[in-house]
């Protein structure tokens, strides 16, 4: 998601210029207050009962009251002494509300208890992801990395203005005023004041120039590096509000009958039976199927089952996964587009003493977030309002604006907590939002809650693509790896998206990342890719290309090590001599896991190390294998280097979660197609990890002063190869397709 194309960039820039051309801080502040006012104001519009407003604020807390002190887009302080930190990224479990609030609290010297995290309104100019240009959105494990300076400067600026306010009120030099846990004080006179008491005065002072702001040195940190409790509260008593829980006056619920196969359209339909219920309000044809609009979900669902729809299947997909994989295996034997080439791999393999060849197969995968995709949309004549676990603000505004013929600022997005995403909610065509807007457009003035069933969610596509990798590696007489050749075959995720900039000379970087960037000192390396075309919509899935490249590269290097009679950790350490951060996590994980120490009979240990999104992760997995081939992942020791650790407990949580998430495709998950139909429909046949399959996980964090990088995705890639390598250590076999069958 780092490669937004020029066309989209220009379109977004134009869109935002139309919103405002504000430049001066004073004007920005006024604008900001207006925008912030909108956070609550929009929600009050049609809320059914008093008290619901507070419930609907994304954090479940009341925002700072009184005329706020709002020195910039991210901080506002109320006369009630509450500090609201405005969070531009969606909270989908990864802990961004906590991490970004920590950065502000640190530089502001606030008390953690007085901090509330609130979701930002959609505004690609003010709340853009700094890694993505003029575009607001969350992805690529970039929230902390792109916000590190921005949020700290926001906090430090607010603090400087509060200090200036105290200095003015007390008629003292600013240098004599100190700030600690939300209290400003003057040691000489014993004067004290809270942020709330100084908020109004601070608001009248000029915003200092960014260059005059001094940020703390790491040794001064009190919150950064400390495991502060999470700020996305209300999640253990049922009060947190997700899209599924939005309840607006007059709202109706919609479900959609989707085509049975990709590429199918509605030919005709008969809704007579479906409309018989007095709780069904309407049945509407939309581009993606037939929508049933009713007073509640169940009535809509029952009516949907009674629809008689004739589908036009003339252009329907009819391929099966077996056929797709067979085609990919053939393609993998030929040459592809070159993603990376150094040395002369052909010569190296020709002259190698031993050549090993492997063909890896990876199925399609569904994201299967716990909250099935859903969206609340209200379309009026000249505006649109959306409630959603909003991950892709600027793209969603653009797609909805185009559909309705509205400028983007008329598409208001309320960012709610997301019940998981794993990439699914960042969709370049805004699929489920656009579907909701089509229905809401037909029911203008009525809020529509589109609810997908689990089956809708699982069979809608936007899968992690299926891939085949063919890898050949050569060893010389001394057991050195002299050549590595890899050809990756599968659908391109970035083609046709605003991130097409990531495709160079026909090579979609997101298909090969992790392989084309192989860090091992191998003298001859070539990585190729062939992008295929299928009717299956595909999308990034937590850690994108690394989901498959880490598996092929880390199991293949392991196989080569064993073939060469070398210890898998020793060989990696040797080949990573120029990559200290890789070595650092590898050594830490191996040491903590007791690499080389004896294990019970039937147990094995395997290792993998991988970099993704500029974070480095090594994992050592221990497995036990029973005589009947059943195996269990018993323990995982994980080491991570993500630069300055902002919140160690959140980092640990993301590693634990990433390991579980990556174990699912290693052990149980696969989407298959039969004659163009998605076979899996729910959790009975698309299995995911359950508590009895979760290993004991131990996480170690490498101390670092490097700029912080993300942790949402990097925990995922190493686990499947670590497990496969551990199994190989027991069984002596190698596992070339996922999920693993022993």
């Amino acid at each position: 998601m780092r490669w937004i194309n020029n066309e989209t960039r220009a379109e977004l820039a134009r869109s935002f210029q139309e919103i405002d051309g504000l430049a001066s801080p004073q004007e920005s502040r006024r604008h900001f207050l207006k925008v912030i006012g909108g956070i609550g104001a929009g929600l009050t519009l049609a809320v059914s009962s008093p008290g619901t407003l507070a419930k609907m604020l994304p954090t479940g807390v009341t925002a700072a009251e009184g005329e706020a002190f709002a020195p910039n887009a991210f901080v506002r302080i109320g006369t009630d002494n509450r500090v609201a930190v405005v969070i531009k990224h969606v909270e989908m479990g990864q802990g961004t509300y906590t991490g970004l609030a920590t950065l502000v609290a640190e530089e502001l010297d606030a008390d953690w208890e007085q901090i509330d995290a609130v979701g930002a309104p959609a505004d690609g100019k003010r709340y853009n992801n700094l890694y993505w240009g003029p575009m607001q959105g969350t992805g690529g494990s970039s929230a902390i990395a792109n916000s590190y300076q921005q949020m700290r400067i926001a906090g430090a600026t607010a603090k400087a203005m509060l200090v200036a306010a105290a200095a003015q009120r007390w008629n003292l030099p600013t240098a004599e005023i100190s700030v600690n846990k939300g209290v400003l004080s003057h040691a000489g006179s014993g004067r004290k004041a809270t942020f709330g008491e100084l908020a109004e005065l601070a608001a009248t002072l000029p915003v200092p120039d960014e260059k005059s702001i001094r940020l703390k040195e790491p040794e001064e940190f009190t919150y950064i590096g400390t495991s502060m409790p999470r700020k996305d509260v209300g999640k253990t008593d049922g009060t947190a509000i997700y899209t599924q829980d939005v309840w607006l006056e007059g709202m109706l619920t919609a479900v959609v009958a989707h085509p049975p196969r990709f590429g199918t359209k509605v030919k005709s339909f008969d809704a007579k039976e479906a409309k018989a219920s007095n709780r069904v309000v309407d049945v509407i044809q939309i581009p993606t199927g037939i929508a049933v609009v009713a007073k509640d979900y169940w009535s809509a669902k029952v009516a949907r089952d009674k629809l008689n729809i004739e589908w036009d299947e003339s252009r329907a997909m009819d391929k099966s996964t077996d056929q797709i994989m067979a085609e990919y295996r053939e393609i993998s034997k030929k040459r592809g587009g070159v993603a990376h080439d150094h040395g002369s791999v052909g010569d190296a393999l020709d002259s190698a003493k031993t050549v090993i060849e492997a063909t890896y197969e990876f199925p399609y995968l569904a994201h299967a977030a716990m909250e099935p995709m859903n969206c609340v949309a209200l379309v009026n004549k000249d505006s649109c309002e959306i409630w959603n676990g909003e991950q892709f603000q600027s793209i969603d505004q653009m797609n909805i604006g185009k559909l309705l013929g509205l400028p983007v600022e008329k598409v208001k997005l309320n960012m709610l907590f997301a019940g998981g995403s794993f990439g699914r909610r960042a969709n370049p065509v805004s699929d489920y939002l656009v579907e909701a807007v089509h229905i809401a457009k037909a029911k203008m003035g009525t809020p529509i809650k589109l609810v997908w069933s689990r089956e809708d969610d699982m069979q809608a596509g936007y899968f992690r693509p299926a891939y085949v990798h063919r890898v050949r590696g050569g060893l010389d007489a001394e057991g050195n790896i002299v050549g590595w050749e890899q050809h990756i075959v599968g659908q391109s995720i970035l083609t046709g998206t605003p991130f097409g900039q990531g495709i160079k000379n026909g090579v979609d970087h997101s298909s090969v990342e992790g392989a084309s960037t192989l860090p091992y000192a191998i003298p001859n390396l070539r990585v190729e890719v062939t992008s295929t075309e299928e009717q299956v919509p595909v999308l990034w899935w937590r850690s994108v290309g690394h989901t498959h490249t880490a598996y092929s590269t880390e199991t293949f290097i392991d196989e080569l090590a064993v073939k060469a009679g070398q210890d898998p950790v020793d060989l990696r350490m040797k080949l990573l001599a120029d990559h200290p951060r890789w070595q650092g996590v590898l050594k830490l994980a191996a040491d903590k896991a007791g690499w080389g120490k004896a294990l019970p009979k039937g147990w094995g240990r395997g290792v993998a190390v991988h970099e993704s999104f500029n974070s480095y992760v090594a994992q050592v997995a221990e497995v036990s294998v029973a005589d009947d081939g059943k195996f269990k992942v018993e323990r995982v020791v994980c080491a991570v280097d993500c630069g300055v650790p902002i919140n160690p407990d959140v980092i640990r949580a993301q590693m634990e979660g990433g390991i579980g998430f990556g174990l699912a495709p290693a052990l149980v998950s696969a989407i298959t197609l039969k004659d163009g139909k998605v076979v899996e429909s729910n959790f009975h046949n698309y299995q995911v990890l359950r508590i009895n399959q979760m290993p004991e996980v131990e996480v170690h964090i490498v101390p670092s002063a490097a700029p912080p990088t993300g942790v949402g995705e990097p925990g995922v890639p190493p686990i499947a190869p670590a497990v496969a390598n551990a199994l190989a250590a027991v069984t002596g076999k190698r596992y070339y397709s996922l999920p693993i069958k022993v």
Partner: protein, 156 residues
């Protein structure tokens, strides 16, 4: 038809078809949204509530089966009248920083409370068997296990 439901100690009259799942009556008729929809076929546990103290999947329980029974939802165990087990479980969840996206957690907590009400000192195998019907896609399982053990320690 009109059905009388006792939810969190309060009586409610709802007019619906008898086969409507209890989940949708709780969510769409009673407007209590803490209980979540995850799969609709009792495969994920996000909709777990208690019926006469037993954990059930409300998405697959026709509302007529709940008539005359005591239904408890996440809202019910979060009230001041909640049992010591409920309080211990929620406290352990917060102390252990279990939650990530949180969508499954109402169901996880309802399953954990039901387990500890019946078995205050569960083994790992007891926890697996009581909790393996509850999916968490954020994979917070290790912390869920830890929180159940911590709550158990507080109770015994």
């Amino acid at each position: 038809m009109s059905i009388t439901l006792n939810v969190n100690g309060a009586e409610h009259q709802v007019d619906t078809t008898p086969d409507t799942p209890l989940l949708w009556v709780i969510r769409d008729y009673l407007e209590m949204t803490g209980t979540k929809f995850g799969c609709g076929m009792a495969m994920c546990g996000a909709c777990t509530v208690h019926m006469d103290g037993q954990p059930i999947r409300s998405c697959s329980t026709p509302v007529q089966l709940a008539a005359g029974k005591k239904i408890t939802t996440i809202e019910g165990v979060s009230s001041s009248a909640a049992s010591p087990v409920s309080r211990a479980v929620q406290q352990a969840w917060d102390d252990g920083q279990v939650v990530q996206c949180g969508y499954c957690q109402s169901g996880q907590i309802m399953s954990a409370i039901a387990l500890l009400e019946k078995n205050p000192k569960p083994t790992d195998a007891d926890i697996d068997s009581a909790m393996s019907g509850n999916i968490c896609r954020c994979n917070t399982y290790q912390r869920i296990r830890g929180a159940i053990k911590e709550a158990s320690k507080q109770l015994v």
